[in-house]
Symmetry: C2
Subunit: 235 residues, 2 copies
DNA sequence: AATCGTTGTATGGATTGAGATACACCGGTT
DNA sequence: AACCGGTGTATCTCAATCCATACAACGATT
C-alpha cells in the first residue's frame, strides 16, 4: 500500500526466445544495417568486428527467423537489407524499450490485495480501499497479490458532475481527497488519499484548471479494469 | 499507421546504472536471500557459487548502494537480510518486469506523426487521423515521430451518449467504426477503423454488452494525453 | 576451549562473447 | 581478365562471467 517512486537509473529491455536474447546491441546493429545497406559498413560504423556481427546475426536467425537478407557480389559488390521479420522484431523490441522508458517516468500506485473472484482474464481483488478489478495471469481465489495502477491510467473527476456508474461498468471508481500536487511544466502529479492509500494520477494543466484541483479537495478517481495489473507475489 | 501484434517470446528487463545491470539473476538471488536469511543458503538453493554471489552483491552495491546487510558469527552463525535500499531496488526492477509482461500482452496502436506544437511535457502531433496529444521526451516542432497508444488506455463510448468535450479537455477523441472483435474469455480486443488507421481497444465483456458493440457500429474512442507515448524516430 | 554455521577471501578452471586479422568467394563493371 | 566492394569463413587473443574448491574469521552456544 504505497506509491512507487520513479526509478533510479534506466531500464533496458531484451526480447528472449529459446534462451537467445535480442538486446540493445542487436537493435543498434540491425538499425545500422538498415541505414547503410551493408553489414560491413554497419560493423565498421559501430566500431565492431564484422565476422563477429555476421556470426551474431546467424545466431539470432536460428531463433527469430531470417532477419537480414545478405547478397554477395553484384552491383555495389553485395549488400544487405532487413527482412520483414527483421523489421517486426525491431518493432517488438523497440516497443518494449518504450514501455520501460515510460514506466520509469510514470508513478505507480501499488496496493496489496486478496483475490475474491475470477472471471476469465479479469479478477476482483479485495484491497484496503475496497474492491478493485484488473487483469491477472494465473491467480486463484484467496491469492495474495499486488494491484498496480499507473498514474497515467487514472482519470480524476469532479464528484458533482460524475455520473454514478451502473453496476455493469468495469471501471474502478473511488472517492478520495487531494493531498498534494507536484507541478511539472504542463503535466501534474496529483496525490489523492483514499483511506490510508496514496494514489497518484497524471493530469494535464488544462484538466487541473478545468477541475479546479487543489489540496483538500474531494475528487473521484476512475480507471479501467483493463489498465489494472494484478501481480502474483509468489514469483 | 499499423497495429502492433503481440510479442513473440517474452521480454526481460534490466535496471542499468553506471554500466552495471541489475537483472533477473540478481533479482532471484536477492529474493532467495530475503527468504532464507542467508547468502550461503540462497546460493546453494539456486545452484550457484557462493563466492561468486558474494562478489556479485559487492559489485551491485558499489553502484546501487547497500543492498544486503551481512552478519558474521553470532546466533545462527551469522546471516543476511535485505536493506531498505535492497527492497526498493527489487521493487523497481519488478515493476519494470511487470510493465514488460503487460506490454507483451496488450496490443498497441502505432501512428506516424509530425510535431506541430509543444507545451511542456505535452506535444501536439499531426497524424493521418487528426491531431493527437501525448507525452514526449525532447522533441521539437516538425519532428517525425511515432504515436503509441496501448489498447488498455482506450475507452469506447456510444456516440449518442458521449458529451462533446470542451476545448480545454486534454483527452484525445476520435470517431471510428468497429471492424472486428477478438473475443477472449471476459476481455475483448475491439478493432476500430478511423480513416485508414486500425485502432485496438481492450474492453471487458460487461462493457461490450452495455455498449452493444458489434461490427460496423460507430463508436467514439477517447484516451488520455498522459497515456499517449510520443516516440522520436531518430533513435 | 571446542563446535557450529554463517560470512569473507583466494585460487583455479571453464565457457562465452567479442575484437583483430587474414584469406576466399561472388557478381557486376570496366 | 582485372578490379571492386560486398559477404563468407577461419583463426587467434583477450576479457568477462561464473562455478568449484579450500581455507580463514566471526560471535554465539555448549
Amino acid at each position: 500500500m504505497t506509491s512507487d517512486p520513479g526509478a533510479d537509473g534506466h531500464g533496458t529491455a531484451a526480447l528472449v526466445r529459446d534462451g537467445v536474447e535480442f538486446g540493445e546491441r542487436d537493435r543498434a546493429l540491425l538499425r545500422e544495417i538498415e541505414r547503410t545497406g551493408s553489414v560491413a559498413a554497419a560493423s565498421s560504423n559501430l566500431g565492431r568486428s564484422r565476422p563477429r556481427d555476421l556470426s551474431r546475426i546467424e545466431t539470432l536467425e536460428e531463433t527469430f527467423g531470417e532477419l537480414v537478407e545478405r547478397r554477395r557480389g553484384g552491383s555495389g559488390g553485395g549488400g544487405s537489407q532487413l527482412t520483414d521479420t527483421g523489421d517486426q522484431l525491431l518493432a517488438r523490441y523497440e516497443r518494449l524499450q518504450v514501455a520501460l522508458t515510460a514506466t520509469a517516468q510514470v508513478p505507480e500506485t501499488v496496493l496489496q490485495g486478496t483475490v475474491t473472484d475470477l472471471s476469465g482474464e479479469l479478477a476482483e481483488v479485495d484491497t484496503p480501499v475496497g474492491r478493485v478489478r484488473g487483469l491477472h495471469d494465473d491467480v486463484t481465489v484467496d491469492d495474495q497479490l499486488q494491484v498496480r495502477i499507473g498514474a497515467d491510467s487514472i482519470t480524476l473527476l469532479d464528484p458533482g458532475s460524475d455520473p454514478e456508474p451502473d453496476a455493469t461498468s468495469a471501471r474502478n471508481r473511488l472517492v478520495g481527497t487531494i493531498t498534494g500536487i507536484d507541478r511539472g511544466e504542463t503535466v501534474l502529479t496529483v496525490h489523492v488519499a483514499v483511506g490510508d492509500a496514496d494514489f497518484q494520477a497524471l493530469v494535464t494543466d488544462n484538466s487541473a484548471q478545468r477541475l479546479d484541483l487543489h489540496e483538500n479537495r474531494e475528487v473521484v478517481l476512475t480507471w479501467k479494469a483493463t489498465a489494472t495489473r494484478l501481480v502474483s507475489e509468489s514469483r
